[in-house]
């Protein structure tokens, strides 16, 4: 069952990729991460097999807030994955 922190992440990612929305999504993800991740697995990392996408191939989960706050392309990727919205 989705926790309330995850719902906040989804809500923030539904907004257009403005600096404010990106910062909001980053803060929401940081809160979610504290609650849900890091339970035993030492270095969880979000990876993809994209080419020329404008975001890294690998982002450690604890660095996702930093990437969300600064990289609009990564924000749009997370929007598609989490909020299920095409940018």
């Amino acid at each position: 069952m989705s926790n309330s922190e995850w719902e906040k992440v989804k809500e923030a990612l539904r907004k257009p990729a403005t600096p404010e929305a990106m910062r909001e999504a980053a803060e929401a993800f940081a809160q979610y991460e504290k609650v849900s991740l890091g339970k035993g697995n030492s270095r969880p990392t979000l990876v993809n097999l994209g080419r020329g996408t404008g975001y890294p191939h690998a982002v450690p989960v604890d660095k996702i807030p930093d990437e969300l706050a600064t990289n609009p392309q990564f924000f749009d990727l997370m929007k598609k994955i989490v909020a299920r919205e095409k940018s």
Partner: protein
């Protein structure tokens, strides 16, 4: 008839995905196994025409599929149709289902299995030296392996495709982490099957006993978090 299997291995995502193929698929198929620095255009050109199936792990885009260090293997309009004619092709790569997949079918490939958007998963980077043991990554990658094994068991492309989709659905239903669950649902929704859905390849012998892990994994050749 040999199998053309490309397993690039130069950063975290390629190492993770190729590790699963190396552990679960490579032992049951014949050469040519193009691993690491062999996952390049020339070895592919030599091996592909002799194969009935092409399996590839590498970074991709709408129009291209790449191997080691993103060396282009297949690109729309820039390959010989002889390399793909009559083959069943599975590319574990991002977005190749948009333009490259249809182009492969247009040029004579029997069936294409790939993804219309990014292929994403969560892995544990502490398992970079034994990626096949990474349970986090296995949540997303084992459905791919199950689909490939179905294909190599002689099932049709559609049956193999359904095996993969069912794997995502099954794993998502029991997954507690919302991020991993989102990745599973995203990959499920972006998986595509093009061409002849009843296409088959010659069945390969099944593996009935647990095999030891592969003996070596070469060190990554670039900073892994790039």
């Amino acid at each position: 008839m040999p199998t053309a299997i490309l397993m690039s291995d130069f950063d975290l995502p390629t190492r993770s995905a190729s590790g699963f193929l190396l552990r679960y698929i490579a032992p049951r198929v014949e050469p040519f196994q193009l691993f690491s620095f062999l996952a390049r255009r020339l070895p592919f050109q030599l091996s592909a025409p002799q194969s009935d199936i092409i399996i590839g792990v590498g970074h991709g885009s709408k129009t291209s599929f790449t191997g080691q260090n993103e060396a282009v293997i297949l690109e729309v309009g820039k390959y010989n149709p002889r390399e793909v004619k009559g083959k069943v092709i599975k590319l574990l790569s991002c977005q190749t289902g948009v333009a490259l997949g249809p182009d492969l079918i247009k040029n004579g490939a029997k069936a294409f299995l790939g993804y219309e958007d990014d292929y994403v998963w969560v892995m544990d980077s502490d398992f970079a030296s034994k990626p096949w043991a990474d349970e986090l990554a296995g949540t997303c990658l084992l459905p791919v392996i199950d689909g490939l094994n179905a294909l190599l068991d002689g099932k049709t492309a559609k049956e193999a495709f359904d095996v993969e989709l069912q794997g995502y659905t099954r794993n998502a239903a029991v997954e507690e982490d919302d991020l991993i669950k989102s990745c599973l649902e995203f990959n499920h929704d972006n998986a595509v099957l093009l061409g002849d859905t009843s296409a088959r390849v010659r069945s390969r012998p099944s593996i009935t006993i647990p095999l030891p892990p592969p003996p070596i994994i070469l060190p990554v050749s670039r900073p892994i978090l790039s």
